[in-house]
Amino acid sequence: MKKILFLIAALSVIAAGPALAADSIKIGLTAPITGSWAAEGQDMKQICELLADQVNAEGGLLGKQVVVEVADDGGNEQTAALAAQRLVTKGIVAVVGTYGSSVTEASQGIYNAAKIPQIANGSTAVRLTEKGLKYFFRTCPRDDEQGRVAAKTLTGQGYKKIAILHDNTTYSKGLAEETKALLEKEPVEIVFFDALTPGEQDYTTILTTLKTKGAEVVFFTGYYPEAGLMLRQKMEMGFGVPFIGGDATNNPDLVKIAGKEAAEGFYFVSPPVPQDLPSKEAKDFLAAYTAKYGAAPGSIWAVLSGDGFRVMVEAIKQAKSTDPDRIAGYLHDGMTDFVGLTGAISFNEKGDRVGDVYRIYKVDAQGEFILQ
């Protein structure tokens, strides 16, 4: 008898499970919680959870609580594909993320096949939105846009012998090639085009090569840990060539690694850093974030995941439904100049964000990023 009672109790719990789940709307977040970009991923998680708390405090979404279902993509392709398959089975209605382009690329087919709208926050590789995926969006700009700004800056400052250095990741190589193609139309000489291996610590070999090639400026399209090390090693070598970085060098850790002295004078192309975001929404959000976690988010990329989350919440609210076709339809056609944390947000038919977001920054003697 006891056994039967237990069985009935167990069954009723199982039956109640989905009913409980139906009282909440689950939005997935795929982020590099571990791996070499873990600092970004942990910010992304904190931002989305804070925003979900805010939505819930204001009465939730369509009368239900919003739950952020976090999956760690480890910043690598294999883990990302597994994380995507796991999230898909958890009843999420939309997914935010992720950071690296090659990582997003590994997961976007899975979400698209499952008809789950995805909104990436740091994946700027051009081809991600050239595949005609109906449910794929991104809050970050594209590399061809960034390449245009970079090429304009390089030629605008009068450099004639330009070196381009990338790190062989989808994003970095893409940006390097975009910029190279644009520069080849200009009266400048590309004296160097090659890749380094990210994660190493000794880049003096590369710097020595750059020196012998007579580069007047180096455009580095990789990430901040390598950029920081190169700036430091360049100074130690007494090699004075200016460095210009792509938007993946936009992280305060760059200055920490390089040291203020070595980082001074480094330029980079990037969407605005969180502190330079103009809107009231951004200021309120940064204040709330700093109050809860003790420090502002490290980079713009994590904030762009917050925008992805807010965009999805808005789309579900406006579509009055969690139906993927209606969400995607609203994002493509309905959303115009939604007030995001990083400025006005609208999407074109490819799912790319519309508008001009890139700025030029320079590191000053105090190690601050100064908008030019």
Partner: protein, 301 residues
């Protein structure tokens, strides 16, 4: 000429680090026939412990450069050595009598445990050693620039290697280690406490790795919880290149790997550097399947 000299000395400096880590692989393999895959993470632990101790006791401010750095190295060497012993007791000793593959799986597992523990304790973003600890002067040897700190890195790793070699070759305990490497049962019959030898091996190997971690931190400035993987892989390659289980082999393999890498990226292609390095490794193994100094298999270590 200047470029060649720069690339060569740079390759030797990084090769010295590879060699120190490779010694840890080779020592353990020599005695236990086990590839300690957690070794790269012991190197990372050394780097992070070094940073914590350096800032906690502000060693170089109080003791000056030479004494401060020596004290730091000594502390880290002892602590990482202890971690190494604990690792053996927890993860390898219970598996001593089981199949060799079980211990390898245990090693891989410990590697994941260590690296994630470092991430949880110290955080995921890169950490930075204080700037300006090592002297920044540049020597000029026959008109060619040679940074003092590169020389220090190379000399320190050479001193540690020579010290280890002398210890293994000239002392009674060293003889016991060599005996255990050749035949554990016979060594036991001769009255050698093989368990002690293994414990010692798991102290010395990780200790050298930990020292390499501190040296990398001081030299390059930036340390990260994932760094052990790449260094571990390179050092493992160096150990194979020189002939695994063979101490001079690990030293030669490390230095050679550093120089090959550096010259490859300077004169052939940077992006193809790792591919070329591994092709060289394969070619050497085809010609000499036991590694460069592998003919001394009989007296491993």
């Amino acid at each position: 000429m200047e470029q060649f000299f720069q690339q060569l000395t740079n390759g030797l400096a990084i090769g010295g680090i590879y060699a120190l880590i490779a010694l840890g692989y080779t020592l353990v393999y020599g005695v236990l026939k086990l590839i300690n895959f957690a070794h790269g993470d012991l190197f990372t632990i050394g780097a992070f412990l070094g940073l914590s101790l350096l800032t906690a006791f502000s060693l170089t401010d109080k003791l000056g450069f030479v004494l401060g750095v020596s004290a730091l190295l000594l502390m880290v060497v002892c602590l990482v050595g202890l971690v190494g012993i604990l690792l053996d007791q927890a993860a390898y000793k219970p598996l001593r009598s089981s199949h060799r593959l079980s211990a390898v799986v245990s090693a891989l597992g410990m590697s994941i445990v260590f690296s994630n523990a470092i991430m949880l304790i110290f955080g995921a973003s890169p950490e930075v050693y204080p700037h300006g600890i090592l002297p920044s002067q540049v020597l000029h040897i026959m008109g060619l620039p040679f940074p003092v700190k590169r020389l220090l890195l190379l000399v320190t790793s050479l001193v540690l290697m020579v010290a280890l070699y002398t210890f293994i070759q000239k002392t009674t305990i060293g003889a016991a280690i060599r005996a255990a490497a050749i035949d554990q049962d016979a060594a036991r019959l001769m009255g050698i406490n093989v368990n002690r030898v293994i414990m010692l091996i798991f102290f010395i190997g990780p200790a050298l790795g930990g020292a390499a971690g501190v040296m990398v931190g001081l030299y390059y400035g930036q340390i990260k919880w994932t760094m052990g993987w790449l260094y571990g892989l390179k050092a493992f390659t160096a150990a194979i290149l020189g002939g695994i289980g063979n101490i001079p082999g690990a030293m030669v393999g490390g230095l050679l790997l550093g120089v090959i890498e550096s010259l490859c990226s300077a004169y052939i292609s940077m992006a193809w550097k790792d591919a070329i390095t591994f092709v060289v490794l394969i070619l050497i193994l085809i010609v000499r399947p036991t590694g460069l100094l592998g003919e001394r298999v009989a007296e491993k270590i």
